[in-house]
Structures are given as C-alpha cells and as structure tokens.
C-alpha cells in the first residue's frame, strides 16, 4: 500500500497523469460543447480513432503539425456529418453517433490495410511523426520546488498545453462572450433561445463540428505522442470515458477538466499498478478506469430520472 502511495505522489506519476489525461480532456471538452447545445456526442470514440489514423497517415508525408491539423479536420468533418444527419435528416443523435463509431472501427482497419499494404494491426511500417515535446527543463533552476516542477511539467506534448489552454478558452467563450451565452441558452431551454431569435440548429451544428475537431485532436495526441503510430482500436474506450467525464463535469469546462483528470489518474494508475502489485491479475487492473467511470457516474448523479 505504501508503495502505491509513494508512486502516486511521485513527480513521474503526476507527469504520467498529465499524459493520460490529455486525449481524454480533448475529447471531453468536445463532448461538453455538443452536450451543452443538446446533442450528446456518443461518437467521440470513433472520431478519436479516425482522427488518430488520419493524423498518422498525413504525418508520414507532411510535417507533424499538418498531421495534427488533418486529425482535427477529419474530426470536424465527422462532426459536420453528424450534424447533417441529426439536424437535417432528423436521425436520432445516439444512432448517428453509434453509426460513426461502427464506421470508424471498420473503416480505420480498412484504410490501415491499404496504407500499410496489408497490415491490419498497426501502422508500424508507416514513417509517421510525433508531436514534439515542450522542453521546460529551465524550471529546474527554481530553488526548492524546481526539480519537481521540471519533472511534472517538462517534456509534455505541445498539444497538452493546447488542451489546458482550451479549458480556459472554452470557459471564456461560454461565460464571457455573447455567442457563448447563446450556446448556453440553447442548452438550457431551446424554445426560449428560439424566441430570442437564436437558431438552435445553427449552434448545434457548430457544437457538433467543434466537438469533432476536439475529439480529432485527442486522437492525434494519442497516435502522435502517447503512442507513436496507429494500432487497431487504439482508443480502447477513451472516447466513452470522455463521455462519462462530460456527464460528470456538470456541463462546465472546469468540472469537465476535473473529471477528465480523475479518469486520467486512474488510467495512469492502471498502467503503473502491474509493476507494483504483481499478484493482481492484469485483466482486473485493466478494468480500473471503466469501473471508476461507472462508479463516478452512479455516485455523482444522485438525481432520479424517469425514462
């Protein structure tokens, strides 16, 4: 037990939490934006997966930031497709989202097969690039806390810092701009917003596209930093966990971030534990993030719902 606590308190573990949180944070911020305007985006998982593969393939032929942008664009495109089918063709948003997930699961393997010339598992033979890490080792010069800060903050992906900035940017947008007010109004009570001359569907479209872009970024981070390269089903439920973070985050960017960090913490723990608790079966350690997500949802909601 002491060993676990020592691990959790170590600077390397905190840094690991930041790394595991980043993709989840991107996706859950995306989920927040679409949930706010009334469309729960269950496709985060699939969009991340497609964003990841797009980023990997493009980055093999272009600089890393073009790869990241391609992941973002692919996500935004899928968000647009969801908006089209949900808002224009009146399909249920949950079904649209799941259709995207199914397309992503099959489509990424199909495209991967062609891109690699027959490998259905990984993109190992594609020379994809990584997002560079931001070197903050000068922090080590600060007396006393310097080395700790360097361990925790240095060496993260540029995208990690972008994700942290996005929390602030989305908060600013939602609570300090007129358009953000409209966003929240549509989410609270669409008829009132409509009466005030706001088109809910326009904002829902923006919300879905933005949520796709952010989930795509999450995918890019996953395949260009967390792991370098694409593996089949590499999101492994992170998109669904991000959806849990959206629901847990009380529709607020800060709340969403806290929830994402919570899930990132348990993912990092499930990565660190096999080395410490050798007796504990790997399969059970692997369930930790999922168990925590279910429990967090059950304990946080405390609100009876009718069907």
């Amino acid at each position: 037990m002491n060993e676990i606590i020592a691990t959790i308190l170590s600077a390397t573990f905190v840094a690991a939490v930041i790394r595991t949180t980043t993709p989840i944070l991107f996706a859950s911020l995306g989920g927040l934006l679409s949930d706010l305007v009334g469309s729960l985006n269950v496709a985060l998982e699939g969009i991340m997966l497609i964003g990841a593969l797009t980023a990997v393939i493009v980055s093999a032929h272009a600089p890393w930031y073009i790869g990241v942008l391609a992941g973002l664009a692919a996500g935004g495109f899928l968000g647009g497709v969801m908006a089209l089918f949900h808002l224009r063709f009146k399909a249920d948003i949950i079904l649209v989202g799941f259709a995207i997930n199914i397309i992503a699961a099959g489509g990424t393997v199909t495209v991967l097969t062609y891109a690699t010339g027959g490998d259905k598992g990984t993109s190992i033979n594609i020379p994809s690039k990584a997002v560079p890490a931001l070197d903050l080792s000068f922090l080590g010069n600060i007396p006393a806390i310097g080395p700790f800060l360097r361990e925790v903050l240095s060496g993260h992906s540029y995208l990690t810092w972008l994700a942290a900035f996005m929390v602030y940017a989305i908060w600013y947008f939602l609570y300090r701009t007129p358009e953000g007010l409209r966003f929240r109004a549509v989410g609270e009570y669409p008829p009132a917003a409509e009466a005030a001359g706001i088109s809910p569907n326009r904002l829902r479209t923006y919300g879905l596209i933005a949520s796709g872009c952010l989930a795509g970024l999450g995918g890019a981070q996953l395949a260009m930093f967390s792991f370098v390269g694409f593996t089949r089903d590499m999101t492994a439920g992170r998109g669904f966990i991000a959806l849990g973070a959206v629901l847990l985050g009380r529709r607020h960017p800060i709340g969403t971030m806290i929830a994402a960090v919570l899930f990132g913490f348990f993912e990092a723990l499930s990565i660190a534990l096999p080395g410490i608790l050798k007796w504990m079966p790997g399969e059970l350690i692997h369930t930790i993030p999922f168990v925590v997500t279910v429990l967090a949802l059950m304990l946080s909601s405390r609100r009876r719902v009718t069907a």
Binding site: F85, L95, F98, G106, T110, H286, A307
Partner: protein, 357 residues
C-alpha cells in the same frame, strides 16, 4: 393503415436498406479493389458457394438475430443501453462454467447452461437500468463501461482457471458432448441455435405486443411523459426492459459457446458481433418478427464480406463502413426520397400511420 399495407411498406423499407447496403458496398469496392466486378461477384455469390459457407451464414444470422432482439427490447423503450456485448461475454462465461461442472455431462447441461447464461446476462443488463432509475447515471456510458469490464473478467477467468497448455492459452478445453448443440445438418453449423433464435423471436414478440408489460414498455418508449401521466411506473419498465434484454444478451453468449461453431470458450469469441445487433434492429424498426429476416439478409452480406477478404483483395472490415452508412440512412428520413412530398399528398393519413407504427 391495415396490417397488410403496413407489412408491405415495412418490407419495402427493408428491401430499400438492402439496396442501399449493396450500392454502398459496390462503391467501396470500386475504390478499393483492382478487379471490382470480380470482387463484387465474390461478395454477392460466395456465401452460397458450399454447404459449409451456407452453414456459417445461417449460424451468423442466428446470432445476429438474437443480438438484434436484445437491442430491440431496450430500443422499443427508448433506452440506449448498449451492453449486449458485455452480456454476451458474461453469458458465455456462465454457460462455460456450467459445461465444466458435473452438470455439464448430463442431459441437464444445455438447459442449465442457458439458464445460467441468461441470469448472468440479466444481471449485467440490470446494473445500468438500476443505476439510471435510482441514481440517475446515464445508461449509455455505464452499459458501455460494463462491456469492457465484462470482457476483462471473462478473459481473466478463462486465462487463470479454464485455459491450459493443451487447449492453447486463449481457449478453454472443448466442452463435453452433452454441452454442445446437436447439429441438424452434419458437418455444418446449422444447429439447435436456430430453434433458440426463432423461439426467442416469438417470445419477444409476445412480450411486446401481447402483454400489458409490453404495452407499457412501448408506451414509455413512444412518450415517456404521457406514460407516466397514465400511471405507468416508467422506472420499473426501464429497469425490467434492460434486464430482459440482458437475459437475451446472456442467451446469445450461451449460443456462442455451446454452438457447434465453438463448443468452448475463447478470448474475444464474440468478435464484435453483438454491436451489429444495432443495425439489425434499426433496419427492422425494432419489430421482433422482422428481425430474423433482416438478420438473414445482413448475415449474408457479412459472410460475403468475410469471404471477399480471403478470395479477393478487399478486407472484410469494409462491412463496418457499410453497416454504419446503412444505419445512418435507415435511421434518418433520408431513406425515402420524397417522403415529405408524400406526406403532404397523403395529409393526415401518413401522420396517423406514423403514430401507430
């Protein structure tokens, strides 16, 4: 609208979905294959090419139908519980435990295994329902999380207690003969599973359309608020629908492991098939009696894609793209071009028929 016309229009929709699926596949093959026409021919004809492939097609359809039935129950109640995959793994695991218990070599093996699987699946289905009605936890996320948890638990028990060096580390030993379905046609996968799927179809239809519970369930699905005003305890309906669907998911798990295709427990035996039940029930519009036909049709396409993978240059996973696009098209009003115009011409009649459908 009379029953007959309803039947025709629904059949038309299903045929439409099939045409969409073929068209989408053809387009993908044109992009993906060097010899598109030959590949498409393989895709369309290969499932009928031998007794063995026909057997696989039928067996797949049985499993797809059960998955579709499980989803149809929760979708009729408008609950998006997506936990069939987890129910299949727990059901398969429970059926396996029964098969290796002393009961596994007696005549009770099959019924006891199926019962255990259904109880296990029902429990997995019950959790998100209970969490939603009592604690307000979103059923989509909790059911999806349970899928991952159930998968890991199944693999854990398999690795530690059931797998051995002789059986290969990813599978259990073969079940005793009494715990495997009798094959109706020797050396094919056509077995007792067919009877189970058809019986389940009738049971689900009866529950939904001939019992008070089914009426309440469908009312809750159409308009939860109206149902609540008319005194229906919607939270009970919600939880019971998810539990019943869970039992079907568990049953599907038993059909997987007890069927002649496996006759043992393997890692990842479900291979993503549970989620394909979504497509089945969407195309069938959650109507139990239509589900076996949709399952046969989709099972055929799925088998065609799998064989195309071996015999041509297009990977089997393209079926995922086809599946997703068909869901998009069928779930949206996009399916029937000119539907808006039709509605205007027909006036209230179509509106009324939509309300009863």
């Amino acid at each position: 609208m009379t029953q007959g016309r309803l039947f025709l229009s629904e059949t038309g929709r299903i045929v439409m979905a099939a045409i969409f699926a073929l068209a989408v596949t053809l387009i993908i093959i044109f992009f993906a294959s060097k010899t598109p026409w030959a590949t498409f021919e393989t895709f369309v004809t290969s499932p009928l090419s031998s007794k063995r492939t026909i057997g696989i097609w039928i067996d797949d359809s049985v499993k797809l139908a059960l998955a579709g039935l499980a989803f149809s129950l929760v979708f009729q109640a408008r609950q998006f519980a997506l936990g069939v995959q987890g129910q299949v793994y727990i059901g398969g695991l429970f059926a396996t435990l029964v098969a290796f218990s002393p009961i596994g070599t007696t005549w009770l093996a099959l019924p006891a295994g199926i019962l255990a699987a259904m109880i296990g699946g029902a429990f997995i289905g019950f959790i998100p329902g209970y969490a939603k009605s009592k604690l307000g936890a979103n059923e989509i996320v909790s059911s999806l999380m349970l899928n991952y948890i159930a998968y890991d638990i199944c693999n854990y028990i398999l690795r530690v207690y059931l797998a051995s060096l002789e059986s290969g580390l990813t599978t259990s030993a073969p079940f005793p003969a009494q715990s495997i379905y009798p094959a109706f046609i020797p050396r094919t996968r056509v077995d007792l599973g067919i009877v189970i799927a058809l019986a389940t179809t009738v049971v689900v239809w009866f529950l939904l359309y001939r019992t008070a519970w089914g009426l309440k369930l469908r009312l809750t699905g159409h308009n939860a608020r109206f149902a609540a005003y008319s005194g229906i305890r919607s939270s009970f309906i919600m939880v019971s629908a998810m539990t019943a669907a869970g039992a079907i998911g568990g049953l599907l798990g038993a059909v997987f492991v007890q069927g002649t295709a496996y006759g043992k427990l393997s890692i990842g035996f479900e291979a993503g098939m549970a989620f394909e039940g979504i497509l089945i029930t969407i195309v069938a519009r959650n109507r139990p009696l239509a589900i076996p036909f949709v399952a046969l049709g989709y099972g055929y396409l799925r088998q065609g894609a799998a064989l195309m993978n071996y015999r041509a240059d297009v990977p089997a996973e393209v079926i995922g793209i086809v599946q997703g696009i068909v869901i998009l098209l069928v779930a949206s009003s996009f399916t029937v071009p000119g539907k808006a115009m039709l509605a205007r011409l027909m006036g209230n009649r179509t509106a009324a028929s939509r309300a009863t459908s």
